[in-house]
């Protein structure tokens, strides 16, 4: 819905989103977070700051945790983007989701999707992280509710159940 004459230049973007390939016309300056939320309607991706400050928008790009609010959508051509919406499969929560739910790693829930995605990236690289490795991996994700205590415990609980998805 742009006013006449203000149409931004668009480009066709092809990427794999939560396992499925798709194509969309996106403005060259469109941020990944806006593409995910407004075009793909994946509102589990949160925006908590004015750019790169809080980690609430964290998604995985080819398995790496990245703040989608400081990533241009067009930079994701041909890449695999994973959001919180991809984690629960076949009616089951992932082990991180279940742990965050059961151990109260979530209170208001606003940082939770980004926090879980950052933790998911950690566990893919390091199946048995130490407490300090978990703390460092999550240090770009701000939470204002928990003091991080139950977040750390949630990740540790997920580590103890490696056979769950």
């Amino acid at each position: 819905m742009h006013a006449p004459g203000s149409q931004p230049k668009k480009r066709l973007l092809r990427l794999r989103l939560n396992g499925r390939w798709r194509e969309d016309a996106v403005a060259e300056r469109e941020l990944l977070v806006d593409y995910l939320r407004e075009v793909a309607h994946l509102t589990g991706v949160k925006s908590g700051c004015d750019g790169g400050e809080c980690g609430a928008c964290t998604v995985l790009i080819d398995g790496e945790a990245v703040p989608s609010c400081i990533t241009l959508a067009v930079r994701c051509e041909g890449r695999h983007i994973e959001t919180i919406e991809s984690l629960a499969t076949q009616g089951r929560l992932s082990r991180l989701q279940r742990a965050f739910h059961e151990k109260l790693g979530t209170q208001c829930g606003f940082c939770t999707p980004g926090m879980i995605m950052a933790a998911a990236a950690l566990l893919r690289h390091n199946a048995t992280p130490t407490e300090s490795e978990i703390r460092v991996a999550l240090s770009g994700n701000l939470c204002r509710c928990t003091g991080y205590v139950k977040i750390i415990e949630s990740v540790q609980a997920a580590v103890e159940k490696p056979h769950d998805c």
């Binding site: 819905m1 742009h2 006013a3 006449p4 203000s6 931004p8 939320r37 994946l42 509102t43 589990g44 991706v45 949160k46 925006s47 908590g48 700051c49 004015d50 400050e53 809080c54 609430a56 959001t83 919180i84 919406e85 984690l87 629960a88 929560l93 989701q97 279940r98 965050f100 739910h101 059961e102 109260l104 979530t106 209170q107 208001c108 829930g109 606003f110 940082c111 939770t112 999707p113 879980i116 978990i134 703390r135 460092v136 999550l138 240090s139 770009g140 994700n141 701000l142 939470c143 204002r144 509710c145 928990t146 003091g147 991080y148 205590v149 139950k150 977040i151 750390i152």
Partner: protein, 778 residues
């Protein structure tokens, strides 16, 4: 019901996850900006570029003429003030004639997209005549200062002078009297969800629906009706998922009314998403405070008197200011037995964003001063910090000097538990260089016993529905903002009825469906709404028991309810499953809705002195904590190695959530103590991002070991009191006391930054060199 005080207070029940937790961990939870806004216009706000000024000219014609702009609003569109206290509504949604802080809304637009809205804002022509602006309490109070509000002389929003007991005698009979000054920086709630509001006005039916991040939907409803001059029956206020509050949203905020004004002007839907910077500018948090505190103490640690002066830099408008300055004095009481207290409070108008309520409202900075001074005096007298607290305990039930009820009091046990858990006795004074232990106590109200808006209605109402499907729905206006209040309601209903928790559904905070609730503030929900939920569930249970009795041809008194089975004679003769009982109950009356209520009685509503209702509550929570620190004397960096916190919440309805609340509040106290601070440069915010407003990250946050203490409050739901705020105020003084223990330096200002530690260390080294030089010279 008075719980059995002989019950072992150690918690072994694990608690339950949040009933809305699955939505949160899957990303399905819809916050305000996640709601369907495909056809919504984008709202933007023009804000004042100066701290204080007169509006000479405001011309929105070019913005209005821009293609794609659907509505423009200014102060002319709303000549009505709003505010949270009926006696102090002195703020317009958009400035009229005068702006009083940098960032104050002046005009707003709704346009078809963000680019157009931004462009329209840039086309608004604004001419201001600067007025003298004051960014400190001292400047604003100086003789001859321009008044921010013409009726507030000396730029004082409120002065409080309270005296209880004979404080002159108290100081005269003390063995030690010490006075110190303390200063605490302004801090912000910094909830992770930025402010947002979605307003939808239908011109055909003349109805307005507002969905917002509010903790107080009812107050929002009232202010929308007032500012838009609408019949309140045509307004619906809905709270979607809310990403944290901590007080940021306990009063109606300017952007909420602005969004509604735009929606009406545009005859449609408007989404207002504030940036993080704007969210910081909206502020309403804990004010910068200066405390001058004097305590008199006997040699055995008993406090004989206390006097305290508090000056709060309140910002440009009233907000909750009167309550904050009253709390700062009132909550000197209720924690310890103090025979005489003098309090002088000054709430000052300044040209900064208005302050408001933040977790631990009004109590935190005064408590910080008090617990620091208590420790220093204990040191002077050679007393252990625990011993000096134990010398001043209250004994419940009692009333404080300012007439606050203390009905249950678990502070003694909190002290025992953290002393033991931290190994205090074996470790204090024996830690390696640079390490230290400190402790402090704190408390908070379980809801203000006297509501802000006095209507005579019950203080809390919960409706419970039961229909053919056998599902039980609890309807509450209480705003779940992540603290788990809906889960608390579900547990309270399920436990009272004896049914499975997953039979309960909670629908919260939608004015079209749920009964009015005053909101999520002053830690009122568990105590008040919990009691109302139990009341409603008891009424429903009576209906079910009656129905079962009729069906089983027995007397209601003979019906025994075990889980979801209703039976007589231990089931030997007959029993009915829940579904059968529901059918029987519906036969007579159809779908059932019962209403439960709770009201704090007049005797709980505080003293008769002016402002005496502030601080009144039916149940104080109590907390004690020990903080262990390590200090690097080369850099001044303080690390918190561990925290042991105990909190008396009366009874933990959901121990998992209670633990989470205690950890979160202790940690928020840590942020205030160590690094959080708003900074203004000529009134311009220098802190309005998460990079500048530094909060502890996961890497810097310590383990927080929680001890839940249950004192079984005689009036709380299942004996419960609050658990979300009481522990916060103990952290800053425990940290400062731990630093004193580690490096023998007393810090009087918060936050305790590495700079402040280094300054103090350098000062001491200089002093030491000077002393040794003088010695050599003599």
């Amino acid at each position: 019901m008075i719980a059995d005080p002989m019950i072992d207070s150690r918690i072994s029940r694990p608690g339950v996850p949040l009933i809305d937790g699955v939505e949160k961990v899957t990303g399905r939870a819809r916050y305000t900006v996640d709601l369907d806004h495909a056809d919504a216009l984008v709202g933007r706000i023009l804000r004042s570029p100066v701290g204080h000024g007169e509006i000479i000219r405001l011309d929105v014609s070019k913005a209005r003429a821009l293609d794609g702009v659907v509505a423009v609003a200014t102060g002319d569109d709303c000549p009505f003030t709003y505010g949270v206290l009926p006696v102090a509504m002195n703020e317009y949604p958009m400035a009229r004639e005068r702006v009083r802080y940098c960032g104050e809304p002046i005009a707003a637009v709704a346009a078809i997209d963000a680019e157009t809205a931004d462009r329209a804002i840039s086309l608004i022509e604004l001419e201001l005549r600067r007025l003298p602006a004051y960014y400190t309490s001292q400047e604003a109070r100086a003789p001859g200062a321009t008044l921010l509000h013409d009726n507030k002389l000396g730029n004082l929003e409120r002065e409080v002078h309270h005296e209880f007991g004979n404080w002159q005698d108290g100081f005269a009979t003390a063995d030690l009297v010490r006075e110190e000054k303390f200063s605490c920086a302004e801090v912000n709630h910094a909830q992770i969800e930025p402010h947002a509001c979605l307003a939808d006005y239908d011109p055909i039916t003349a109805r307005l629906t507002v969905q917002s991040v509010s903790q107080v939907g009812y107050y929002l409803h009232l202010m929308l009706a007032r500012c838009l001059e609408m019949d309140s029956s045509r307004i619906r206020v809905v709270k979607p998922f809310v990403g944290g509050g901590f007080g940021a949203r306990v009063e109606v905020l300017n952007f909420e009314i602005i969004t509604a004004l735009l929606a009406r002007a545009a005859a449609g839907k408007v989404l207002m998403q504030l940036s993080r910077e704007e969210t910081f500018l909206t502020h309403r948090a804990r004010p910068q405070s200066d405390m001058t505190l004097r305590i008199g103490m006997r040699r055995d640690g008993k406090i004989t008197a206390c006097s305290c002066e508090v000056v709060q830099r309140g910002g440009a408008y009233a907000g909750y200011g009167i309550v904050t300055i009253l709390y700062a004095g009132a909550l000197l009481q209720g924690l310890y037995d103090i025979p005489a207290i003098k309090y002088d409070g000054y709430r000052v108008y300044t040209n900064l964003p208005p302050c408001g309520a933040m977790r631990g409202h009004g109590s935190v900075d005064t408590r910080h001063a008090f617990e620091c001074l208590l420790d220093r005096m204990a040191r002077d007298l050679g007393l252990d910090p625990f011993a000096v607290r134990r010398a001043n305990l209250l004994h419940a039930p009692t009333r404080t000097l300012n007439d606050l009820m203390v009905n249950s009091y678990g502070l003694a046990e909190c002290l025992d538990r953290v002393e033991r858990a931290s190994g205090w006795r074996d470790r204090i004074g024996k830690l390696p260089a640079g390490k230290g232990l400190g402790m402090a106590c704190s408390h908070y109200v379980s809801g203000a016993a006297k509501p802000i808006h006095w209507t005579g209605e019950p203080h809390a109402i919960v409706n419970v529905r039961l229909d053919f499907d056998g599902g039980i729905t609890a309807l509450t206006g209480a705003a779940d903002i992540g603290q788990g209040s809906s889960t608390m309601v579900a547990i309270s209903v399920a436990e009272t009825l004896g049914v499975a928790l997953d039979r309960i559904r909670v629908i919260a905070a939608d004015s079209a469906v749920t009964p009015k609730d005053n909101g999520a503030y002053s830690s009122r929900i568990t105590f008040m709404v919990g009691n109302a939920a139990i009341d409603a569930a008891r009424k429903l249970k009576a209906i079910l028991v009656d129905a079962a009795a009729r069906k089983l041809e027995a007397r209601p008194d003979d019906i025994e309810v075990v889980g979801e089975v209703f039976r007589i004679d231990s089931g030997q003769q007959a029993s009915l499953p829940f579904a059968e009982v529901v059918k029987a109950a519906l036969v007579d009356r159809g779908a059932i809705t019962v209403s439960g209520t709770f009201t704090c009685p007049p005797e709980s509503q505080g003293g008769r002195h002016k402002g005496g209702a502030v601080g009144s509550t039916m149940g104080f929570s109590y907390a004690a904590q020990v903080v262990e620190v390590s200090i690097d004397d080369a850099t001044g960096v303080v690390s918190v190695d561990k925290v042991w916190a105990a909190l008396d919440c009366g009874h933990a309805i959901n121990p998992l959530a209670v633990e989470g609340q205690i950890q979160g509040s202790v940690w928020m106290g840590m942020g205030q103590a160590m690094c959080e601070e708003t900074r203004y440069l000529d009134g311009l915010p220098g802190h309005a991002s998460f990079l500048e407003y530094r909060m502890p990250t996961a890497a810097e946050s310590p383990p927080i070991e929680v001890q839940i203490v249950e004192s079984h409050d005689p009036f709380g739901p299942f004996g419960a009191k609050e658990a979300s705020e009481g522990a916060l105020a103990g952290f800053p003084p425990a940290l400062v006391n731990a630093i004193a223990n580690a490096i023998d330096i007393d810090i009087d200002e918060l936050p305790v930054t590495p700079d402040r530690i280094m300054d103090a260390l350098i000062q001491r080294r200089r002093q030491a060199r000077l002393t040794s030089t003088l010695k050599v010279a003599s």
